[in-house]
Amino acid sequence: MKKIINDPANVVGDALRGMALAHPDLLHVRTDPAIVVRADAPVPDTVAVISGGGSGHEPLHAGFVGPGMLSAAVPGPVFTSPTPDAVQAAIAQAEGGAGTLLVVKNYTGDVLNFETAAELATAEGTDVRTVVVQDDVAVRDSTHTAGRRGVGGTVLLEKIVGAAARQGTDLNGCHELAERVSARTRSMGMALTAPTVPHVGEPSFALGEDEMEIGIGIHGEPGRERVPMDSADGIVRRLLDPILEDLPFTEGDEVLLFTNSMGGTPLMELYVAHGVAERLLDERGIRVRRRLVGPYTTSLEMQGLSLTLLELDAELTAYWDAPVQTPALQW
């Protein structure tokens, strides 16, 4: 394993300290328990939007803390959900009297830990709601399973709900909006290489020089199938087709297209893939109205990408366009 780190046991704390130094005006960072809070928190009479989960997906979530997006983030150990006390601490710091919306990616660990934190915070008198993001169409959905994973769509939801909260939307409104975004978002990802978890020291799976994994998760979970390497056209088609069929997205729909690097894939390849995706959508009469291209929901140094589509309407578009000041997204 070659990584630019010191002790693998301290990697999350070391990264958070570096992040705090890099963004002194935007963030307050604590390391025990690890939480990242807006420098101006709590914002009175404004719904606190808080997310979190295992580390290793940077900039998700801490890179999205700031005016117009998240009030706080709770980074767990690498690929491991944070514990309820950390989530509680974030709520305590960020809560401004208008309640808290927890944005939770649908993994058993995240759901259980955030659920416990929500119970404890509610018991202490805070109004807490939860939205569970589950946009990954690579996972078959069923009430008898763990359900779909939350992946790239989380970024879009955090941006949109963060804008609504900033504009004074109340907890009920934020929660409904979040559910609406969640219902209209679908994603799928693929990998050319596996990530290496620092405390493990070896890649999470092995891929041959001519293979790729389709339908991977963001924690080094292998995907649903291993297939021979393909062109950008072929790769994008494999991700886009299941996304389009699932919602479904149909002719005339207006969408936001998010082309996301898994961490190790450079911008050049990302733009190639993005161009292919726009072309394929155009062929189907689906109108791309907004785009996000970059490494935003990553899996350490994994090479690969994911595509996310969000069906837009005027309200969602306006919230997407609203100003945002965070380490990773600014406009």
């Binding site: 767990g76 309820p84 399973t145 405390h199 999470s204």
Partner: protein, 212 residues
């Protein structure tokens, strides 16, 4: 012979040792069908439990179990943290305020623990989770307690059943937890949580057996 608070403490310390010893094995199992952190999570959690036990001296089995529960909840994270935490919390409640647990009380605490896991995680046997180790352990413990076995014996049969149960997860296709994302590809690997459950129960049983 029944189980005192000291016995429970010793059992937890033995559990922590086992987890540290098997950290890499649990990581390897989780790497195959999950996210490669189960050994790290359990090791972090049980080290924290040992640190707590070094500084506090709870007086009853229930108080020991409760301390373990809250420590696991605030240090393990992931799916296994809340699940093991809830299991220990429910076991603590079931143990009541007695100073010693007999065979029956051990069996009841185990059942309460398992019910906690089920309540939170909604898994049933065959889903390829820690339930596949816990459920047979609970059944075996009940049968043993029904025939008036000692705490040591009840734990021993429970540990045996858990081991067999964990081994049986290998061919299963996961329906809960992270391994479920793999679909059919999850078959052919032991479930890491079932394995850690079997390891912990074996360590508990060994300690109590050695004690008496």
């Amino acid at each position: 012979m029944p189980c005192t608070a000291q016995d429970v403490i010793a059992a937890l310390r033995a559990g922590a040792e086992t987890v540290t010893e098997h950290r890499d094995e649990l990581i390897r199992l989780d790497r195959a069908i999950g996210d490669a952190d189960h050994g790290e999570n359990m090791d972090r959690g049980f080290r924290a439990v040992v640190a707590q036990l070094d500084s506090a001296s709870p007086r009853t089995p229930s108080a020991v179990l409760k301390l373990a529960a809250t420590t696991l909840i605030s240090s393990v994270g992931g799916a296994s943290g809340p699940l093991y935490g809830t299991a220990f919390l429910r076991a603590a409640s079931a143990a009541g305020d007695v100073t010693e647990l007999d065979g029956r009380a051990v069996a009841d605490a185990l059942r309460a623990g398992m019910e906690g896991v089920t309540a939170r995680g909604k898994a049933v046997t065959g889903d390829k989770t820690m339930i596949d180790a816990l459920a047979p352990a609970v059944e075996a413990a009940k049968a043993s307690a029904d025939s008036d076995a000692t705490a040591a014996t009840v734990l021993a049969v429970a540990a045996d059943a858990a081991r067999t149960g964990a081994e049986a997860t290998e061919p299963m296709v996961a329906r809960k937890g992270r391994a479920s994302y793999l679909g059919e590809r999850s078959a052919g690997h032991l479930d890491p949580g079932a394995r850690s459950t079997a390891l912990l129960l074996a360590a508990f049983a060994d300690t109590v057996r050695t004690d008496r």
